[in-house]
């Protein structure tokens, strides 16, 4: 079943130019894609190609200039009031810049449980315990639930954002560079958590990332964006195995790899041990 349909979305930003003349800049140019229930769609591409903007439109945090967003069969492009509130509950976003998306005056406990109280859900075990459980799941020390965002490291702040998004059992989670500040081992743990939630509760994800190895690990389909357009959209096997677009090929070729000589040596040693 199709959960989210983004159809022909265009986003123009106007910047006031000289002498009151306005120049417009097309950040997203006729982008369409679907997200199935229980599917992970990865969005990769050039920095500045409109990934975050597309994500913000899909989450209705930004009005598109043209185009429609259909969620669960309902056109939410111009939704208001109750309809919008329901949409907001079903769709959670993990933002690209962690600190800017966390209220510096709230404790982590309050930040993480905000979506719960917003929806009027009172967890049986209490807000404190609910927050601590979520913190534990993303590898944060639950004893720190009374701290403020500024007292965390970049990667820890990012995980606070992830915990908040997972608090209310959303149907769709939009992860904008959600694991970019995590070390590989915690990253693996968080990815595992995301995939387990998908298997158990059927979450869908839009997963924006620059780390193609991570993308390859968790996505079902990939959209490649360049200069505001989707230049390639296909299953993981298609895009990684047999890329059609030139830009996709350049991208795949540029993935940095650990010095193969050193890596081989290390593996050798591991085997002989």
């Amino acid at each position: 079943m199709t959960l989210l349909q983004v159809q022909g979305v265009v986003k123009e930003f106007s910047t006031p130019g000289a002498l009151g003349r306005k120049s417009t800049f097309t950040a997203v140019d006729d982008v369409s894609f679907d997200v199935e229930l229980g599917e992970t769609l990865a969005v990769v591409g050039e920095s500045g190609s409109g990934k975050s903007t597309t994500a913000r439109i899909a989450a209705r945090l930004l009005e598109p200039t043209r185009g429609t967003v259909i969620f669960d069969g309902v056109d939410v492009t111009r939704a208001r009031g109750k309809e919008l509130a329901r949409f907001r509950n079903d769709v959670q976003v993990v933002f690209q810049d962690p600190f800017s998306s966390l209220n510096p005056r709230y404790t982590v406990e309050r930040i993480i449980t905000a979506p719960l109280s917003y929806q009027g859900i009172k967890p049986a075990e209490g807000y404190r315990a609910a927050a601590q459980e979520l913190m534990e799941r993303v590898g944060l020390n639950p004893d720190h639930c009374q701290r403020y965002p500024a007292q965390f490291s970049g990667g820890q702040a990012q995980r606070i954002g992830i915990a908040r998004a997972l608090a209310v059992n959303p149907k769709l989670v939009i992860c904008d560079e959600a694991v970019s500040a995590l070390d590989v081992s915690i990253q693996a743990q968080v990815l595992e958590l995301l995939m387990r939630l998908q298997a158990e509760s059927g979450f869908s994800y839009i997963f924006i990332a620059h780390d193609l190895a991570v993308v390859r690990q968790i996505c079902h389909r990939v959209a490649v964006m360049n200069q505001g357009r989707i230049v390639e959209l296909g299953t993981r096997e298609q895009v990684f195995g047999d890329p059609q677009d030139d830009y996709t090929r350049t991208l795949l070729a540029a993935v940095p790899r650990i010095n193969p000589e050193w890596d081989a040596k290390r593996r050798q040693r591991k085997v002989t041990l």
């Binding site: 986003k11 123009e12 930003f13 106007s14 910047t15 417009t24 009005e63 600190f99 510096p104 005056r105």
Partner: protein, 327 residues
Amino acid sequence: MTRYVLARLGGVVVILLAVCLFTYLIFFKLSPDPAVMICGKTCTPERIDSIRSVLGLNQPILTQFGEFLRGIVAGRDYGAVHCPAPCLGYSFQTNESVWSMLTSRLPVSITVAVGAAVLWLLAGVIGGLVSAVKQGTWWDRTAMALALGGVSVPNYVLALVLQYVLVVKLQVLPFPSAPAFGDDPVLWFESYLMPWVVLAVGYACLYARLTRSNVIDTLSENYYRTARAKGLGGALIMRRHALRPALTPIATIFGMDFAGLLGGALITETVFGLNGIGKLAADSIAKNDQPVIMAVTLLAAFFVVIGNVVVDLVYTALDPRVRVVSA
């Protein structure tokens, strides 16, 4: 942007109309019969009736309200007397035109408000900034304790104390008389000094506390850290990376406070005997002079509503994140 401004101004007109109607209903319906009040002691039923018909009081209330509005826009006639636009009627007490009463007193209130605002902004912002930078020192603690106390001193107490000490006891200031600036600038300044101070003290304390807490928040922002990492220091880093972000929200609060004051500082003006809108309001309420009460209320509402719009527009100009509206 232009469309936004026009839409907001449309909204203003609607709100002002609603305020008018509401005030009109309250004052002209719920208070004693104005005809009786105007008629005075030597009154006959016939005179009351004639007053009623001149004022249009025998007509349905909405018609009366329509007349009132028309008077503001186009002027109206009371019997043989023509009241030119903008007509707010005549005082029941003195028979003066209400409009000219307002315009003659408005300069006094504006002088009081502007002077006080300058004082409290300077004192509040500088005090708050210094406190924030010297957070936790004795100066911070003393200043904030004073500020907490200052907010809770009632205006009239401060006014009476100041007047007693400075005018009566020490005789360093004259009794306020609101002369024109051009006649005697020194006397003008001396007259207004006490009202300014009295009005400013409460606000200054409030603004000092606001500024302090906003600046402290800003000093822990990541971008302030970046500014330090860039090697900036002194006045530049304070102005750009601490004060500007901290004061932007205060600017909007200031707009509302200032607009409120333009409608008259009731207590201060009365205590110091300054003939401003505030004193006019106090007098007219005491004597139940309805057209004046009505006009003063409308004027205050007008300033608050307009102030609100101006504040919103200023805010969009001050915060780039709101300013740039998408196509």
